[in-house]
């Protein structure tokens, strides 16, 4: 795989002196779905705006498909579709006109069939002649997506695309994002819904206070960080851990015995149960727990 976007040594200091990004360096691969996670104010939007040419970096370079975003801005911007975080629409325009306008703005010749297709995919077709001010928030969000897709971008930035979109439509949007990926579009999304990243992303980047603190393939990240847990309810409770079980990472919590282990140690579970039986420890209930990306994330940001 080769890089679609290369970010090198990017710093961003806003006028007023606030530094929002510190020496950002990473690549986004062609055709991947990259999720950028981070708490409020981490710098996600700032980074996206910088790549799209809406703010100027204080130092560093960014290339998109090999083109410099400043020197070859026409080439890079033609490739990029952006769905910003804020809903900003021309209240008095119709859905159809505003989406067609976006296509023209990017220099593409009119293609009503294509616009029809994306409006249908986004369940906006029956609203095509409605003025934007008559749409609901979730519909406006989808209009923003339609606008971003109107010029057939190769890179799509979705800055919290599903904020305010209901569960069913959100699922539909995920499906659509996957379909876009199939056609080779590179997708960068930011989200506060960790399950979204977990569900969609190939790779995850975590940003906090303007610094990238982790970039990892999602599966590896889940595996690496995933601490599993078995919680056994005992009758009667244990007062101390028997010495035969000393090699296990066990903890007593009230009536419960908690076993924490990593995925690689799962083969030891069988043995543990055997030992428990030998010790005559009776189990009345059992719960398992696997840490989600959300917990991993919270842990990372806390550090």
């Amino acid at each position: 795989m080769n890089a679609m976007i290369t970010i090198s040594n990017i710093d961003k200091v806003y006028t007023g002196g606030f530094q929002a990004l510190y020496n950002i360096n990473f690549d986004i691969q062609k055709g991947e779905i990259f999720a950028l996670l981070g708490p409020n104010g981490a710098g996600k939007t700032t980074l996206i705006k910088t790549i799209c040419g809406l703010t100027t970096p204080s130092s560093g370079h960014i290339t998109v498909n090999g083109f410099d975003i400043i020197k070859d801005y026409r080439a890079t911007r033609s490739l990029i579709g952006l769905v910003p975080q804020e809903l900003t629409t021309d209240a008095f325009e119709t859905v159809w006109k505003t989406v067609s306008f976006s296509r023209g703005l990017f220099g593409k010749s009119p293609d009503p069939n294509y616009i029809e297709k994306i409006l249908k995919q986004l369940s906006l077709w029956d609203k095509k002649d409605n003025k934007l001010m008559t749409l609901s928030g979730g519909m406006k969000r989808r209009v923003m997506i339609a606008k971003a897709l109107s010029h057939e971008p190769r890179v799509l930035f979705l800055d919290e695309p599903t904020a305010g979109v209901d569960v069913e439509l959100r699922k539909g949007m995920w499906q659509q994002v996957r379909e876009l990926k199939e056609t080779g579009v590179t997708i960068i999304l930011t989200t506060h819904y960790i399950e979204e990243a977990e569900e969609m992303a190939d790779r995850v980047g975590v940003i906090s206070s303007g610094k990238i603190i982790l970039i990892e393939e999602k599966n590896k990240l889940m595996k690496k960080m995933s601490n599993k847990e078995i919680r056994l309810s005992l009758t009667p409770p244990l007062s101390a851990i028997p010495s035969s079980l000393a090699s296990y990472n066990l903890k007593i919590e009230g009536n419960d015995l908690i076993y924490k282990y990593e995925t690689s140690e799962s083969h030891k579970i069988y043995k543990l149960f055997e030992l428990l039986k030998i010790e005559n420890i009776e189990i009345s209930d059992l719960q398992t727990h696997e840490s989600s990306l959300e917990e991993i994330f919270v842990e990372l940001v806390k550090k």
Binding site: L54, R74, T88, L105
Partner: protein, 253 residues
């Protein structure tokens, strides 16, 4: 060159004019008609001629300039201020458009509207007074040049303004007084010598003078000086806009 992008902005802005037909066309035309009635008939009946031209006829070029100037500025200022205000400007700034192309779209539309308006007032004037044009080429030239120059100026105001109040304040407090004192309704030579000198500091005097010369062959200042002054305003606006886009002033943080 992303001509299709320019065209999109241009048509979008022109569409806004049709949507707000009353505000952008009807009200200036009605206002001008009122000027003809009040100034042309009431004052004109007492003051027969200025520079050998009948008073009602004399004020036509000034009235056209008055509307063209204010409308160029307010159209262009509003045109760029509004997307800045609503946030939709993000799309313009992230599109593969150079700043020259963005300006061509917005300023082109604002200037077009002003020109259309100027022509409408010109036509309206015929219903009230005799109007003739001695130098049609120069008349069109002044009309187009003034529209473009002041649309550029308005564009700058739109970028600079942080709220609707600031958007109105320059046209209201600077441009309107300058146009009223710029000889729309009188010839500078009718003023006492001291005020004649003061008037020479008012750039609008040169615009109206040049424009009126293209109609009736009579002017307060020479054609060359008029052209020079408009050229200077145009150049200043261009340089200022160039700086705005290069520095990202109020557009990119």
């Amino acid at each position: 060159m992303n001509l299709r992008g320019v065209q999109s902005i241009y048509l979008f802005e022109m569409a806004r004019m049709w949507r707000t037909l009353g505000q952008s066309i009807a009200s200036p035309v009605i206002a001008t008609s009122l000027y003809f009635i009040v100034f042309g008939s009431a004052i004109g009946s007492r003051m027969k001629e200025v520079d050998g031209v009948e008073y009602g006829t004399f004020i036509v070029p000034g009235l056209i300039m008055l509307s063209v100037l204010t409308q160029s500025i307010s159209n262009a200022a509003f045109g760029i201020y509004f997307p800045k205000f609503t946030g939709t400007i993000f799309e313009i700034l992230s599109a593969p458009l150079s700043y020259v192309e963005i300006i061509m779209g917005y300023v082109g539309a604002a200037a077009s509207k002003a020109i259309i308006l100027g022509v409408l007032i010109f036509i309206t004037a015929h219903f009230f007074v005799d109007v003739y044009v001695e130098h049609p080429f120069w008349m069109v030239f002044f009309l187009v040049l003034t529209s473009i120059t002041f649309s550029l100026f308005g564009f700058l105001i739109g970028i600079w303004a942080n709220n609707f109040e600031q958007l109105q304040i320059v046209p209201l407090l600077v441009i309107t007084p300058l146009t009223f004192l710029g000889g729309s309704f009188y010839s500078i030579s009718m003023l006492p010598p001291f005020w004649q000198k003061v008037s020479m500091l008012n750039p609008v005097v040169y615009l109206i003078s040049g424009f009126r010369w293209s109609f009736y062959g009579k002017s307060d200042v020479s054609l060359e000086v008029s052209l020079l002054i408009i050229g200077c305003i145009l150049l200043t606006s261009i340089l200022a806009i160039r700086w705005v886009f290069k520095s990202g002033y109020k557009l990119k943080n």
